[in-house]
C-alpha cells in the first residue's frame, strides 16, 4: 500500500465526498464488500470506486489503497466552503463536539509565507498521519483539522473579535486569495480528515498545539503589524458522551 494516493479523477473526487465515512473506515481496516455495498447503497457505486482506484479488493473484502488520500478542490469555492468547511468550523461549539480553535497573526515575509504550505502545514499533516496510524481502542468519530492562512491584510476593526469571527475572516481572505492565480501560493486552505478515538483526538490536539507553538517566535504584536494570518481548527464529533468534557 502506498503512502499517499492522489485523487485526480473527477468521478473519484465526487465519490470521495459522497462516501467519505466509508473511505475513512477502509483506512482503518478491510471491510467485507457486502457491508460496503450496504453502506454506500449500491453495488454499482462500489464497482465505480474500484474502477477509479479509490479502493482495492482484499479477498472478499475491500481495503484502502493508501495511508493518506490527497485531493485538490474540484468545485466552486463557495460550494466547497458551504458544504465542507463552514459547517465544521461553525459547528465548533456544537454540543458533543470537541473543538480546538487557534488564530494567530504573524510577521513574516512573502518568501516565508509562500513556503508555509509545503513546509509547516505539510509537517503538521504528516504528524497527524502518524497519529491516525496509532491503534484505535475506543469508539471513533470523524476528526477534521483545518488550516487557513492568508497574507492579505485584515481590517483594523478585526482586532478584538472573538476567535471564531476572526477565523471566519481568515477563511474568507484565504479563499479569495486561493481564487487569484497570482496570489494563490501565499494562501493556505487545507483540511485533513481521519477517524479518531479519544486517544487519537488527544494526540491530534497535542500535535496542533505544537504546530501553533512553533509559530510563536514569528507572532506579530497586533493585527495591524501582521503580514500573515493563520487559523488552525479541529473538530471531533465524539462518538461517545465523554466528548462533552473535552470541549476546549
Amino acid at each position: 500500500m502506498s503512502a499517499v494516493h492522489q485523487v485526480n479523477s473527477e468521478i473519484a473526487y465526487d465519490l470521495m465526498h459522497e462516501h467519505l465515512d466509508t473511505i475513512l473506515t477502509l483506512l482503518e481496516r478491510s471491510v467485507p464488500k457486502d457491508e460496503i455495498v450496504r453502506q454506500v447503497g449500491s453495488a454499482a457505486t462500489v464497482d465505480r470506486m474500484l474502477r477509479c482506484g479509490l479502493v482495492a479488493k482484499d479477498g472478499d473484502a475491500l481495503k484502502a489503497v493508501a495511508n493518506v488520500y490527497h485531493q485538490l478542490r474540484q468545485e466552486g469555492m463557495v460550494s466547497f466552503l458551504e458544504h465542507y468547511v463552514l459547517p465544521t468550523l461553525v459547528g465548533e461549539t456544537a454540543a458533543g463536539a470537541a473543538a480546538l480553535l487557534k488564530t494567530c497573526s504573524l510577521a513574516i515575509d512573502q518568501t516565508r509565507a509562500a513556503g508555509l504550505r509545503a513546509g509547516e502545514v505539510q509537517r503538521l499533516f504528516d504528524a497527524l498521519t502518524q497519529v491516525s496510524n496509532t491503534p484505535a481502542t475506543g469508539p471513533t468519530a470523524r476528526l477534521t483539522v483545518m488550516v487557513f492562512g492568508t497574507s492579505r491584510r485584515l481590517d483594523a476593526g478585526d482586532d478584538g473579535q472573538d476567535d471564531l469571527d476572526l477565523a471566519l475572516r481568515h477563511l474568507q481572505q484565504a479563499a479569495l486569495q486561493r481564487a487569484k492565480p497570482d496570489e494563490r501560493g501565499l494562501a493556505v486552505l487545507s483540511q485533513y480528515v481521519f477517524l479518531a478515538d479519544l486517544a487519537r483526538q488527544r494526540a491530534a490536539s497535542a500535535v496542533v498545539e505544537d504546530f501553533v507553538r512553533s509559530l510563536e517566535p514569528e507572532r506579530a504584536s497586533s493585527i495591524k503589524e501582521a503580514t500573515y494570518h493563520l487559523t488552525v481548527a479541529t473538530h471531533w464529533a465524539s462518538a461517545s458522551p465523554g466528548g462533552h468534557e473535552l470541549r476546549q
Binding site: 473527477e10 465526498h17 465505480r48 463557495v78 487569484k180
Partner: protein
C-alpha cells in the same frame, strides 16, 4: 393554512416536473400569496424572460389551485402572438353559429373552456389596442358575451397574463394599456436562469439524466461536480436567461458524447468545448466567478451556517424555522412600505424578537410558551402578552381551529 398551501405547491411542482429548488421555494411563497389565499380571483401577471419557465409555472399554479381551491376546470393556454388580428374576440369569448361568415358552428371560446380552471394568455403584450380594451372590459366585469350571442356568461377562470417584456416600459411607450397592467393585482416575477445559481446545476443534472434515459444508458450518473460548477459559472457569466437553452446545451453534450460512447459521467474536459462554443466559457472564468461569488455571498454563507447550527442545537423544527423566516420577511417587506423612522424600526424589530422567542421556545400553546420562561408567575410573560404574541406568530391560523387546540386540549383555556 399557509404551511399546507406551501406543501401543495411543492406537490404541484413534482406533478408538473418543475426542477430547481430556488424557483420551487419562491413559488411556495408566491403562489399561496398571489393566487391561493386570494382564491384565484385576482388577475395574475406572470413576467419573466423567454424560456425562464413561465409555462411550467402556470401549470404549477393551475395544479395548486385545483388541489387547494377544488377547481375542476382545465388549463387553457394561448399565445396572443398567434391570434390573428380580429380573431381575439372570437377566440376568447367564443361565437354563435352564423355570427360571421365561416362561423358554421357554435364555439365556446377560451373562456368557456377555462370555466372552473385556468386561462393563460401568453405574450399578452402582443394584443392589439382594441383587443387590450376588450380584455380590460372582461377582467373588470368578469362577464362576457360570445360573438353573435345575446346572453352573457360569467367566468370564474383563474386568469394569468404572461409576458416576457417589461410591460411598464411598454406602457411608457404607449404600446400597452396602463389600466390593463393595473388590473393584474397579483404580480409574479420569475427570475432569469442566471439569477438562480443553485437551479442551474439541478436542471443540468436532470436534463443530462433524462437524455441518458432516452438512450437507455442505465449506468450514467450525470455531470461531475467540476462539470456542474463549470456549467453554473458559464450560465451566470453569460447571463443566460433561458432554461430551454440550457436544456438544449446539455442534451447536445449528452448526444454528442453518446455518438462515440456515453461515459459513466460527464467530466469538465468533455463539456469544455461545448461551453466555450455556446456560452463563451473559459477556464479562467472559474477563478473570476469564485472571486465574485465570495465577495457577494460569503457573509450570507456564514449566516446560513450559523442558522443551521442554531437550528440543530436547539432542535428547532423546519416548520418553526420557516415561520420565523416568514416573520422576518414580513418585517422587512413592511419596512419598504413604512417610513424608516427609529420608532417604526424599533417597533417592528421588537415584534420580531417576540415572534422569534415563541418559535425558539417550541411551544404549541400559550400555556407552554409561558412555561418556557419558568414555573413561577413572576418569571412568565403575562397571559395577555402570550396571547398577543400567539396571534403575531400564527396570524390567520389562530382564528380558526388552531394547531395548538388540536394538539393539546388541556391548554384550551389559552385559546380564544
Amino acid at each position: 393554512m399557509a404551511d399546507s398551501m406551501q406543501q401543495t405547491v411543492m406537490s404541484a411542482c413534482d406533478h408538473v416536473g418543475l426542477v430547481g429548488s430556488e424557483l420551487r421555494k419562491m413559488l411556495a411563497h408566491e403562489i399561496p400569496a398571489k393566487i391561493l389565499l386570494r382564491r384565484g380571483r385576482d388577475v395574475v401577471l406572470l413576467s419573466g424572460a423567454t424560456g425562464a419557465g413561465k409555462e411550467r409555472i402556470a401549470q404549477v399554479a393551475h395544479e395548486a389551485a385545483r388541489r387547494t381551491l377544488g377547481r375542476k376546470g382545465e388549463l387553457v393556454e394561448v399565445s396572443c402572438a398567434n391570434l390573428g388580428r380580429g380573431l381575439f374576440e372570437s377566440e376568447l369569448f367564443g361565437h354563435r353559429r352564423g355570427a360571421y361568415t365561416g362561423a358554421d358552428h357554435d364555439h365556446d371560446g377560451l373562456l368557456g373552456r377555462a370555466q372552473g380552471g385556468t386561462l393563460v394568455l401568453d405574450e399578452v403584450q402582443s394584443l392589439a389596442a382594441e383587443d387590450q380594451a376588450r380584455l380590460l372590459r372582461f377582467l373588470g366585469e368578469r362577464e362576457y358575451r360570445s360573438v353573435g350571442a345575446s346572453d352573457t356568461h360569467v367566468s370564474d377562470a383563474l386568469v394569468i397574463l404572461a409576458s416576457n417584456r417589461d410591460l411598464r416600459g411598454l406602457v411608457g411607450e404607449g404600446k400597452f394599456r396602463r389600466d390593463l397592467l393595473d388590473r393584474a393585482l397579483a404580480k409574479i416575477s420569475v427570475p432569469s436562469l442566471y439569477e438562480r445559481r443553485r437551479d442551474i446545476g439541478e436542471l443540468s443534472q436532470a436534463f443530462a439524466l433524462e437524455a441518458a434515459r432516452e438512450l437507455g444508458a442505465e449506468d450514467f450518473i450525470g455531470l461531475t461536480r467540476r462539470a456542474l460548477a463549470d456549467v453554473e459559472t458559464a450560465v451566470v457569466r453569460a447571463r443566460e436567461v433561458s432554461v430551454r437553452r440550457l436544456k438544449e446545451i446539455i442534451r447536445d453534450a449528452v448526444f454528442a458524447l453518446a455518438a462515440d460512447a456515453l461515459p459513466e459521467a460527464i467530466e469538465s474536459d468533455m463539456l469544455l468545448p461545448i461551453l466555450e462554443a455556446e456560452l463563451a466559457f473559459q477556464v479562467a472564468d472559474r477563478d473570476l466567478e469564485d472571486q465574485r461569488e465570495l465577495a457577494a455571498e460569503y457573509d450570507l454563507l456564514i449566516g446560513r451556517a450559523r442558522l443551521t447550527e442554531i437550528v440543530h442545537e436547539h432542535k428547532v423544527s423546519k416548520r418553526t424555522l420557516d415561520r420565523l423566516c416568514g416573520a422576518i420577511k414580513t418585517v422587512i417587506d413592511e419596512m419598504h412600505d413604512q417610513p424608516r423612522s427609529y420608532r417604526n424600526v424599533v417597533e417592528r424589530t421588537n415584534r420580531l424578537a417576540k415572534v422569534a422567542l415563541w418559535l425558539v421556545s417550541g411551544a404549541a400553546t400559550q400555556a407552554e410558551f409561558r412555561k418556557f420562561f419558568g414555573s413561577l408567575e413572576a418569571e412568565m410573560p403575562t397571559k395577555s402578552v402570550a396571547h398577543q404574541i400567539y396571534y403575531e406568530v400564527f396570524g390567520d391560523d389562530a382564528k380558526g381551529r388552531t394547531p395548538a387546540a388540536r394538539r393539546d386540549p388541556s391548554d384550551a383555556e389559552d385559546e380564544l
